[in-house]
């Protein structure tokens, strides 16, 4: 397969459904997902993991069809997974092998020759930040190391699409930073599409350019992050450099709805697009400078609204992407 341009649609699902006995985990999911970095969100038990597993044939869909990277998951059973990588949430590994042996083995299982796999293994292990531990058995690894090796086995065969389920689980802050930066650059620099499922909305906002929200087995939102930002009411978060109480007093007096937070910040609701009015007010009252952030929790708000709204049986949106 020569280096071809990325396909228009990396995931396509038509009325995909999955039931476990009487419980419907997925109901009639229709999606067309363009390439890029996509965040997959949803409350626990909503069907996110089931969706990914159906696409990977780890669960057999009850009805409906899906195509991944333009290959039907049922017809092209094996080959639909040739250029896909998966890093599951749970601890999964093949026991008894050293880290680099394990990743090389995984590369070979995807059809790489031993030499190609070995070479890529060491490159990828460098990339995820693993040092000499690679020569020790995976069974002796700490949680953080296991997470890294899981990511490595998902990337070793140069996939066109990776599914990452809670990729920063178990990593300390600098590890999280490293991996998030890595994930963010997969699409931009290597044209590897990423579907990242996480509960950490800040991470998704930072890394993804598009979001899918699944609740109660249905897709209730599918849009780009930029578009989502504009849909919410404007919330401003202020971090005063000093004299926080005066800020609160000033804003309340001016008739703005200001709410103090437990971390010392203030939250305001406003209709204006820019902060000129606020700056004027602060200047008038001779308030000290402050950090001003707009819509810091845009995705969070959207999530809460969407899930609350989806409690009614018929879904409101048909799940076609808006942009």
């Amino acid at each position: 397969m020569a280096s071809s341009p990325p396909p228009d649609v990396i995931i396509e699902a038509v009325k995909l459904s999955k039931s476990f006995g009487e419980q419907r985990a997925l109901s009639d999911v229709n999606l067309r997902v363009p390439p890029g970095t996509i965040g997959l969100l949803g409350p626990n038990g909503a069907g996110k993991s089931t969706f990914i597993k159906c696409l990977l044939n780890l669960e057999a869909p009850t009805s409906g069809s899906a195509r991944v990277l333009n290959r039907d998951i049922r017809e092209s059973h094996r080959s639909s997974r040739e250029r896909i990588g998966y890093s599951p949430e749970r601890d999964c590994h093949i026991g008894g092998l050293a880290g680099c042996e394990y990743v090389t083995y995984c590369g070979q299982l995807s059809g790489m020759s031993f030499r190609a796999a070995r070479q890529r293994t060491h490159e990828i292990l460098d990339l995820v930040g693993m040092g000499q531990e690679r020569y020790r058995p995976v069974d002796t690894y700490s949680t953080g190391m296991r997470q890294r090796v899981k990511l490595a086995q998902a990337l070793v065969h140069d996939p066109a699409l990776v599914f990452l389920d809670e990729p920063t689980n178990g990593l300390d802050p600098s590890g999280r930073e490293h991996i998030l930066t890595l994930i963010g650059s997969l699409w931009k620099e290597l044209q590897i599409s990423v579907v990242m499922s996480s509960h950490l909305l800040r991470d998704i906002e930072r890394v993804c350019d598009r979001v899918i929200i699944i609740a109660h087995g249905r897709v209730i939102e599918h849009d780009s992050i930029a578009a989502l930002r504009t849909r919410n009411r404007r919330i401003i978060e202020l971090t005063p450099s000093s004299e926080a109480p005066r800020f609160l007093a000033a804003f309340t007096q001016a008739g703005l709805k200001a709410e103090p937070l437990s971390n010392g910040r203030l939250r305001l609701e406003t209709e204006f697009d820019s902060i000129e009015e606020l700056l004027r007010l602060m200047q008038e009252r001779r308030l000290p400078p402050a950090e001003i952030t707009a819509n810091p929790d845009a995705l969070h708000e959207l999530f809460v609204q969407a899930v609350a709204g989806s409690a009614e049986p018929p879904p409101l949106h048909g799940s076609q992407p808006r942009s």
Binding site: D91, G95, L127
Partner: protein
Amino acid sequence: MEASLDLSRWRDPPRGVAYRRWVILSTGLRRLLRQWFFRALLVLSWAGAVVLALVGFIFSQSVGVGGTLDQFLGNFGPRGAAVAATIRGLVLLYPDVVVNSLFTTIFWVQAYLGCFLSLVALTALTPSLVARDRASNALTIYLSRPLTSADYLIGKLGIIAGFLLLVWTGPLLFTWLLSVLFASDKDFLVYSFAPLLRALLYNGIAFAALSAIALGVSALSRSSRSIIVIWLCLWLVAGFVAKVPHMPVWMQRASFSRDLSQIDSEVLRIDRALIDAGQELPLTNRRLAENLTQAGDHTAATDFGGSVTGLAVLGGLSILLLFRRLKPE
């Protein structure tokens, strides 16, 4: 930020399913052979093969005119020379019986050794087949690659096959080859071929049954220790129970080691070999002839059909269990 994404790309066409199954097989086998235990088993089985091969070789070499047996027994004076002449005569007159019986006996011993060592190997091997993978959720990793559960099983089956080939079939063929190579008389080749085929048949049946049962047992639990205990129960304890007199027949058939020995006797026809030797050969020593006949009757298979059924049932149950447990989670 480091120039970290300076990666090589992999754009070759991925290799096919056969290669991937081979990878599972070869990686597993290589891991196996790194352990001293399995290497020790190999050494034992090949040592046994060498010994048996020597027996066959000496026999085939020596029983010709002017052969070493002649010379050797000639040292014992005219009586010895007469014995040598008798043996040579027997071989010339009754090649089928003598060669056949001898090689049947050799292969029977070899099969016994091979089977035993295979069972010991499987005791240590079974946990690492499926149980360990289930304990570490490895199936999710396997199945997220372009593989199906069938490929996974074929690979694992291949590991068992590979090892059994090394520990049983290989020595078997080596024994035969060395015995008949440079043989003075093509009779040796011809009349040893049938026992060889039968030994190979038995080998094949044992492989099919044992690999199915081993895979099934391996899927029973996630703990290596439990698996070993279960396997040892099925092998030794059931085997012991089956030998206790007046056991109900179905209980005897439930022991795969007993079933295998029954099939062994029937397929290799050791009983016929001994009986023929006792009855057809013009042996002067009546006692020897009677002993041979009795030994033949003793080793006759009494319950061949039942044993085959028993093995089939055990194998079938194992396969069913395996497919039920082989889910990625």
